[in-house]
């Protein structure tokens, strides 16, 4: 689990946001509406987003701004979704990506 920052010495208190639920690899988790999927996963301790096609290496967030595309996962059935810039929505189904599919 990675701690969220509730209060920051410069930025102050984190604004209240709407709590929602989503499904990650078959289990239900909580996150905030509109935050990047990757942030919600990180808050729930998920580091590994996918395994690569050629050497089956684990990958996660690297650039966090949608450039490197390392953090892609299967979101609502669509592969290669950049989770670091895709907003979380209620009921989203997020799956670990193996190559470009959901399971090996």
């Amino acid at each position: 689990m990675m701690e969220r920052i509730a209060n920051h010495p410069i930025l102050g208190e984190t604004p209240k946001r709407e709590k929602i639920t989503f499904i990650y690899d078959g289990k239900e988790y909580e996150g905030y509406k509109g935050e990047p999927i990757a942030t919600a996963l990180k808050a729930n301790g998920v580091m590994t987003h996918r395994y690569t096609a050629r050497t089956h290496e684990p990958r996660g967030v690297f650039c966090a701004i949608g450039r490197c595309t390392d953090c892609v996962m299967i979101v609502d059935g669509k592969p290669n979704i950049r989770t670091c810039i895709t907003p979380l929505e209620q009921g989203m189904v997020i799956e670990t990506q193996y190559g470009v599919t959901a399971q090996q």
Partner: protein, 110 residues
């Protein structure tokens, strides 16, 4: 004019290095050793390297590994990285869904 055989003679045969199994292109999973080996086979440009090994051809379009590949090529060919011609740059700048492109031109914005 650039003499490929001459350059191949100059750089000598491929000699394995300890970190050759290091990944360089994260998207297409290309290692430093693969790039170095290709160089000693006459694959000298970034463009050829992309085509030969797929380095820089992945989702990020070489944004992450571009500079690293350039550095390896420069070192192996004994030239300055500044003299290694960069890859071309083409649309779309970011991966774009086919349906969004396909609908373009048919919509009128007011």
């Amino acid at each position: 004019m650039f003499d490929i055989q001459e350059k191949l003679k100059e750089i000598g045969p491929y000699i394995e290095e300890a970190d050759d199994d290091l990944l360089v292109c994260r998207c297409e999973e290309v290692t430093k050793g693969e790039i170095r080996r290709a160089l000693h086979q006459g694959i000298f440009t970034i463009e050829e390297m992309r085509r030969y090994l797929r380095s820089g051809m992945g989702l990020c379009q070489g944004q992450t590994c571009g500079k690293l590949v350039k550095g390896i090529i420069a070192k192996e060919l004994h030239v300055s990285p500044v003299d290694v011609y960069p890859a071309s740059s083409r649309a779309p700048m970011r991966p774009t869904e086919m349906r969004i492109l396909a609908e373009d031109g048919g919509v009128c914005h007011e």
